[in-house]
Symmetry: C2
Subunit: 206 residues, 2 copies
C-alpha cells in the first residue's frame, strides 16, 4: 500500500540522516537526502508534507529537528523492548547482535525451554518458558523474536499471543496460524539463499 | 516482474509438493496445490502451462513427476554449493543450520580472517581468507553468504567477485556497491524487527 511504502521510506530517511549527522552535517536539502536514500527530491518533499514536515527553501532542513520529528512519527523516541524466545544457535547469535541497539531496539529478556540454557548468556539471563507470561504482562512487551525449532513454533506463538504479544519476527520455516490482530514477519533464510542461487544460474544460462 | 513472481510461486509449489509427498500423497489436483500454496487453482494451471507442465483433468498431476519437472526448471536437480565468509556469532549459527540441506543447498566451505577461528567448526574446516580465490575457482562456486563486520563487507565482496562469485547473501547492514552482473540479496534483521514493532504500534494507536 502507498502508506506502507511511505513509512518504509521514512525509516530510510531517518537512517540516512543519522549517517549524515555522524559525518558532521548539520543541514540537508531534499535532493541530498533523496540521493542518500535512493529516491527523488520530489518524493522526499511529498513524504514530508504528508507528515507536516516543512523546511525552508533556501536553508533546507535542520538534521537534528528532522530526526526528532521522524523519531516521534515512527515511535523511535524511546527504546523499544522486545523479547527473544529460543537461545540456541541462532537465538544466541541474535542475543549478542549490537545492530539492534544501534536502531534503539533492546532485547530485554530471553527465554528457553532447556534448563541447561537457562543461565547467563553473554549480556542477559535466560529464563524458563514459564516466566514469559509474567514478564510480558508486567513489562507490556508487544513484540517477540521466535527462534525455536519448527515443531514447537506454533504452540510457542500461541502462548506468546495469549500473554499479550502482538508482533512476531519468526525464524522457524513454518507458516504460523495467528489471529488477524497479530503481525508475523517470516524470515526464511533458506529461501532467501535459494533465490540468489536461482537468479545467478539464470544469468549464467543466458 | 511477472516472471520473477511466477518463479517464486514455482519454488513454493515445489515445497508444498515435497510436504504432500511426505504426508503420503501420490497425486494432486491444481485446486489442492493452490490451497496448500495460497493461490487459486487457475494460477497454478497458468504457471504450469507457461513451463509446459501438463496434467490430466480427471487424474490430476503425479507428484513425483511434478517435483522432477520443477527440479529441472529451477536448477534443483543437483546439490547447490555455496561458501560462507565470516564464522563469528551469526556465521557459526548458519554453518550449523540444517535448513539449507533440506533445500538441497550445501555450505561446502567456510572462511574467516581470524586465525583462532580457522579450525574445525562443527561440520566444516574453516579456512583462511587467502584460500578463497583458489577454492572458488577450482570448485566453480557462484554464490557466497557474507557474515563479516560492516567495515570489511565491501572489500570482502570485491575480493569474492574477483574470484568469480556472482551472487551474495549479505548480512552486514551496509549497501554493497557491486557491478551490474552481480546479484546481492541484503538481509537486515534490525530493519525487519523495526518494521514489526512499527506496525504493532500503529495498530495499538488506532
Ligand atoms: N541456525 C541458523 O542459522 C538458522 C537459520 C535460519 C533459521 N533458523 C531457524 O531458527 C530456529 C532456531 O534454529 P537454531 O539453529 O537456533 O536451533 P537450535 O536447536 O540450536 O535452537 C533452538 C532452541 O530453542 C529451544 N526451545 C525448544 N523448544 C522451545 C520452546 N517450546 N520454548 C522456548 N525454547 C525452546 C531449544 O532449547 C534450543 O535452545 C529454527 O526454527 C531454525 O529452523 C536457524
Ligand atoms: N549476530 C547476529 O545475530 C547478526 C544479526 C544480523 C546481522 N548481523 C551482521 O552479520 C555480520 C556478522 O555478525 P556477527 O555477529 O557474526 O559478527 P562477529 O564479529 O561475531 O563475526 C564476524 C566474523 O567475521 C570475521 N572477519 C572479519 N573480517 C573478515 C574478513 N575480511 N574476511 C573474512 N572474515 C572476516 C571475524 O573474524 C569474525 O569471526 C555483521 O555485519 C553483523 O552486522 C549479525
Amino acid at each position: 500500500s502507498e502508506s506502507k511504502s511511505c513509512i518504509f521510506r521514512l525509516f530510510r530517511y531517518r537512517r540516512c540522516l543519522r549517517d549524515l549527522k555522524e559525518l558532521g552535517y548539520v543541514k540537508v536539502f531534499s535532493d541530498n537526502l533523496g540521493e542518500a536514500s535512493g529516491v527523488t527530491a520530489a518524493q522526499v518533499r511529498k513524504d514530508f508534507s504528508l507528515f507536516g514536515i516543512t523546511g525552508n527553501k533556501k536553508g533546507g532542513y535542520i538534521i537534528d529537528a528532522l530526526i526528532d520529528k521522524l523519531n516521534y512519527i515512527l515511535g523511535k523516541d524511546e527504546v523499544q523492548k522486545v523479547i527473544l524466545v529460543g537461545t540456541g544457535n541462532l537465538g544466541s547469535a541474535l542475543l549478542r547482535y549490537k545492530g539492534f541497539d544501534k536502531e534503539d531496539i533492546q532485547v530485554s529478556a530471553a527465554f528457553d525451554a532447556d534448563p541447561a540454557k537457562q543461565m547467563k548468556s553473554g549480556v542477559l539471563q535466560v529464563y524458563p518458558v514459564k516466566d514469559i507470561l509474567d514478564y510480558v504482562k508486567t513489562n507490556r512487551i508487544r513484540v517477540a523474536i521466535l527462534a525455536v525449532p519448527s515443531v514447537v513454533a506454533q504452540e510457542s506463538a500461541e502462548m506468546l499471543i495469549a500473554a499479550g504479544i502482538r508482533g512476531i519476527l519468526n525464524f522457524a520455516p513454518v507458516t504460523l496460524k495467528v489471529p488477524e490482530k497479530v503481525i508475523v514477519n517470516n524470515i526464511n533464510l533458506a529461501i532467501e539463499l535459494e533465490n540468489v542461487i536461482y537468479h545467478v544460474s539464470v544469468r549464467e544460462k543466458n
